[in-house]
Amino acid sequence: MGKVNTMETLELRSEPMMCSGHAACPGCVEALTVRHVLATIGPDAMAVIPPSCMAIISGPQPFSSLRIPVYQPTLEASAAAASGLRRALDSQGKHGTHVIVLAGDGGTYDIGFQCLSSAAERNENILYFCLDNEGYMNTGAQKSSSTPHYAKTGSTPEGKVTRKKNLTEIMAAHQVPYAATASVGFLPDLVRKVEKAKAMRGFRIITLLVPCIDGWGLAEDAGLTAARYAVECGAFPLYEVEDGRHYTLGRERSARPVADYLGLQRRYRHLDAAAGAVLQAEVDDSWARLQRLAQAGAAPVAA
């Protein structure tokens, strides 16, 4: 297990695009994540932010915590709205301005999924960030289709009976230029991926796991620990898929058992050892599958 990054590497390497004084909860991993995403994207960008925690964090009128223009669409329409915005900028010759989406998992996996699929199929030139906190946290923590197996939420009081939808695989199946996962718990990797996506054109999506202090039942100072444990235990593998074929699997997974990750969170407190073993088996199975994909679809090594 590697040591936590030093303060030096956690500092922003560029101009902050997100201001202090915003409305995020104490200890919020989403605010921290977006701070680094936006600093990497820079000022020549516009953000589409649907109703979500991020919409609250970026507002309210007349304030804005972001130094770039924000358009807030309806909940189910982010990718469509971003497409319209992109085309309007293109029609004015502003091809260099980035159109990004900062949407939650509800607005991405669920209600916004139809237009997301369409924008991906059209290969719209947008960079979509899914701030995945595995539930409808802005309405007080109800389940989304990103909520993992067994997790308790306001709408699954006995634990969710089905598994988390695999968004990255679905987006990869659209054969988009770039689909990746990232975590602020592994900041250099996150910044590298954002920089890589920023330099590409066409439809790009990065799903960022955002442990939610309130919704997951974490200690206020445990957000980053949860972010790191999620990756280390394999529950949230860090990987990239280019053109739907070339898989690159990160090396961040350690020998950490899933139980370490579950133990940080109130939403799993009801689990018995048998259920914990089921989750460990699911994680191991998914990991093995990813390894096979990475082997099969590895980019050919240059001679």
Binding site: P43, D44, A45, M46, V48, A55, I56, S58, G59, P60, Q61, P62, S64, L66, R67, I68, P69, V70, Y71, Q72, P73, T74, E76, A77, A79, A80, A81, A82, S83, G84, L85, R87, A88, L89, D90, S91, Q92, K94, T97, Q114, C115, S117, S118, A119, E121, R122
Partner: protein, 385 residues
């Protein structure tokens, strides 16, 4: 041949597509639906031939179409789209959103029955059900009027920062082939200068749209929308006047057809007006003083114009090709509200005429008028077919 306009045979749909081409929109998100599809197909043909350089998006639904239209418009692009029936209903949430965002989108809607059951006939319930969404609504009678009104629409929308919907009846207008005078590009360019909004989504300005507001901010925003709507009557008239000066064609916001000295006046929307003109001519020929008031602009409702036009007319016959269950005809209800309190109010006879696209020939209209003149109006709308 007049170099400023050329006459050609066009359907209502193709007249709309020509108007859209001439208006030079920069972004056109659009989704096909019967009977609107020929608008989409002619625009994509124009694009393929190099005559139309808008960014055309073809998303997976009408919902995404309008979702794309709004921020495109807010970023300062001129935006056009077209839909019909279920497509318009699917857009419902975004219709409200577009008005709130003050996005001057122009949309053609081909009025078609709404399901269920499935049907494809002319019926205006689709757009009339959207009358509270904050869109300026026009209803047109012919292909020519459709072309002219789409161009008026851009002018009005961009001046007021309100979205405009131009409604044309399925098949009677959308598919009927008529001689249409198509203006030259330079005429339209003079009429519609490029859209350059002061407030827009722009990295240079840094401003945003959609953020959460307080009660007071929300209320003031709605007042601003209402103030813009109030201006729409005069702005629409001015747009019509200026178009008339360029082309010789004026449509007004309401049109009085043979209303002088009328004992009874028919009030209706869209293609039904064409049939009603025939009925009026036949009745006038038979010595019966009957006229037609064509309501072109439904939102904002030209209340004052209606009161002036209909005060002192003994009987008004409203033909509603729409149906609000539990209320009857929507235009009839709007008219009753508009005329409430006039000194000499007419008796208002309401007929649900042509609902679901059933044919209402001129003779049937003449018969309805004659019947209405002989009996007091009923409290509820009557079915006529």
């Amino acid at each position: 041949m007049n170099p400023l306009q050329s006459s050609t045979l066009l359907t209502g749909n193709h007249a709309v597509a020509w108007a859209a081409r001439l208006a030079r929109p920069q972004v056109v998100p659009v989704y096909p639906i019967t009977p609107q599809t020929p608008i989409l197909e002619l625009l994509t043909d124009f694009h393929a031939q190099g005559h139309f350089d808008a960014e055309i998006l073809t998303p997976e639904s009408e919902h995404s179409v309008l979702a794309a239209c709004i921020p495109a418009s807010l970023a300062g692009a001129r935006v056009f789209t077209a839909t019909a029936s279920q497509g318009l209903l699917l857009m419902h949430e975004l219709l409200h959103y577009a008005c709130g965002a003050r996005a001057p989108i122009v949309m053609a809607n081909v009025n078609r029955t709404v399901a269920s059951p499935w049907a494809f006939w002319p019926d205006q319930t689709d757009s009339l059900a959207q009358r509270d969404t904050g869109w300026i609504q026009f209803y047109v009678e012919s292909a020519q009027e459709a072309l002219d009104t789409v161009l008026h629409g851009f002018r009005i929308a961009e001046q007021l920062l309100l979205p405009v919907m131009v409604n044309l009846d399925a098949f009677y207008v959308s598919h009927a082939l008529e001689p249409v005078s198509v203006p030259a590009q330079e005429v339209v360019d003079g009429y519609l200068p490029p859209y350059r909004p002061v407030n827009r989504l722009d990295t240079e300005l840094g401003s945003s749209w959609g953020n959460v507001v307080s009660q007071d901010m929300y209320c003031r925003h709605r007042q601003a929308v209402e103030a813009a709507m109030a201006q729409a009557l005069s702005v629409a008239q001015e747009a019509d006047r200026e178009w008339s000066a360029l082309t010789g064609r004026s449509h007004g916001i309401v049109e009085r057809y043979r209303c002088d000295g009328a004992r009874a006046v028919i009030v209706t929307l869209g293609s039904m007006c064409g049939t009603a003109r025939e009925a009026v001519d036949a009745l006038r020929d038979a010595g019966e003083a009957v006229g037609l008031l064509k309501l072109r602009l439904l939102r904002p409702l030209p209340v004052q114009a209606l009161r002036v036009a209909l005060e002192g007319v003994p009987d008004v016959v409203v033909l509603d090709r729409n149906h609000s269950p539990g209320l009857g005809g929507i235009v009839r209800q709007e008219l009753r509200a508009a005329l409430y309190g006039v000194a000499a109010p007419p008796r208002i006879h309401g007929f649900l005429a042509g609902v679901g696209g059933v044919n209402v020939p001129p003779e049937a209209i003449a018969q309805l008028v004659r019947g209405a003149l002989q009996s007091p109006p009923r409290v509820e709308s009557e079915w006529a077919r």
